[in-house]
């Protein structure tokens, strides 16, 4: 064997090894959570509130709370994010200022989520006097999701060929008509996909909702967006670290983790299916 062949083989073996390690880690996580969490999953677990000092019962309020707060996240992140992306990509001039703004938006996605949590407390809970509630927590998560929504939406808009815009303008369309009729229809699938992925990530966050609305325990469901709520990630955090008998509730923690993972994965799956469907429609 000459040197080139040896190099080629070692390279291949090393790279496959790295891949296998990553794969193994993912499999171990999933197997661990599923094997330990699956046994507690039952109809009761999914539809009942916690009982007896959260040592028994289910996680229903946390599921509902996560769902509600995610809807609130979307209420802020979707229109604001898409609108901002349309402005940046279609209207804003490409100069130093917009490049700086764009870079800042990208960098926002790197800000630790606990910082968003603190910001949410100051702005929504205190300054705007929403109090600790679904609205404050949802908006905080919404702010955190914005960079994702904006970036994904902008990419989707960029992927629409300039010739669609030109063709439309040359027919006497106004700029907005060109965008509305011959750009957005082809960008929306990508925009939605990016947005849902961002929402799925927000649904699993603990830190931003910690001070802005998530409750340790509530025996009843929130009645309005100005109520506190239970949420899956926060519930998991409590079950794993804050409960008075952590060992005893460990299965419940695993069950919560499993439900959370399934929820996030199904949101991602939904995004993928949506994108696939819309692409197909577009081709026909």
């Amino acid at each position: 064997m000459n040197n080139r062949t040896i190099e080629q083989r070692t390279g291949f073996i090393l790279l496959s090894l790295f891949f296998l390690i990553v794969l193994a880690i993912i499999i171990v996580i999933f197997v661990d959570i599923i094997s330990k969490g699956f046994s507690v999953i039952s109809w009761e677990f999914l539809t009942q509130p916690p009982r007896k000092g959260m040592t028994q019962g289910g996680i229903f309020p946390a599921i509902v709370g996560t769902f509600m707060v995610t809807v609130m996240t979307a209420v802020l992140a979707v229109p604001l994010g898409m609108g901002c992306a349309i402005y940046l990509n279609e209207y804003a001039n490409d100069n130093k200022l917009t490049r700086l703004i764009r870079m800042s938006i990208r960098n926002l996605s790197g800000v630790p989520s606990i910082v968003y949590g603190l910001f949410g407390v100051v702005i929504f809970v205190q300054l705007m006097r929403f109090g600790t509630c679904i609205l404050s927590a949802g908006f905080t998560l919404g702010l955190m999701t914005l960079p994702w929504t904006i970036t994904a939406s902008e990419e989707a808009l960029k992927n629409v060929p300039q010739s669609y815009r030109d063709g439309s303008l040359a027919l006497g369309a106004t700029k907005w008509q060109a965008i509305k009729t011959n750009v957005l229809p082809y960008a929306v699938p990508g925009m939605l996909t990016g947005t849902i992925l961002g929402l799925a990530r927000a649904a699993g966050e603990t830190a931003p909702i910690l001070f802005t609305g998530a409750a340790f325990f509530l025996p009843f469901l929130p009645k309005s967006i100005f109520d506190q709520f239970m949420a899956l990630p926060y519930h998991l955090y409590i079950m794993a670290t804050q409960h008075h008998d952590i060992e005893m509730v460990r299965p419940i923690a695993y069950g919560t983790a499993l439900v959370l993972i399934v929820l996030v994965l199904s949101m991602n799956l939904f995004a993928i299916i949506l994108r696939y469907r819309l692409r197909k429609v577009r081709k026909e």
Binding site: N93, D94, P161, S163, Y164, R165, D166, G167, S168, L169, A170, L171, G172, A173, T174, Q177, T181, N182, Y186, R282, K283, E284
Partner: protein, 253 residues
Amino acid sequence: MTENIKIKVKDFDFYYGDNLALKKVNVDIYRNKVLGIIGPSGCGKSTFLRSLNRMNDVITGTRAEGDVLLEGKNIYDPDVDVVDIRRRVGMVFQKSNPFPKSIFENVANGLRINGVRDKNFISDKVENSLKGAALWDEVKYRLNHNAFDLSGGQQQRLCIARALAVEPEVVLMDEPASALDPTATLKIEELIQELKKNYTIAIVTHNMQQAARVSDYTAFFMLGELVEYDETSKMFTNPSKKITEEYITGRFG
């Protein structure tokens, strides 16, 4: 002859940033005639064409000086609605750019944009425009098919039909046949002869034979300047400038 001038370009300068792309251009474009625009790459012929319906406005940092008089009215005047100009002066691009919609919707798009809702009117107009672009017979049984199913030449004729649907007065064509095979090119050229009965046409082309075949007048650009402008028959047999002759006969460019 003034009443036969559809577009009068007067001392027209065009800048990309600080870069002067067109220098003091003067051209008269005559009603129901075909103007051929020729010149080596980068000479400003596409810029000139896109100045005639202000498509250059889309590019940031561009600036125009001088007049482009459409029926005597400068289209660069502040009180002019650029959207209206683009409806009156239609455009067909170098690369055919149908929308990813059905054939019918491609042609109907301009009508819908301009606020037409009457379904019968739209379908009549679509049929007439497709006939006008010599495409009707090839697509009449599959109007709901996606435009991308058409061949390159058909797509380009679809783009012409799309431009015709909004009843422009002038049709600008930017190398409309450069990506097409000889048969498809011939169809486009025949179509141009047909179209000039109803429209004023300006066409950019790299192909000297094509310019000689389709145009009534020819404008030769070089380095942003209009070198020579004359009737095509005169220009291709007896050009007044040596450099024009050299370009036309293929000695450079």
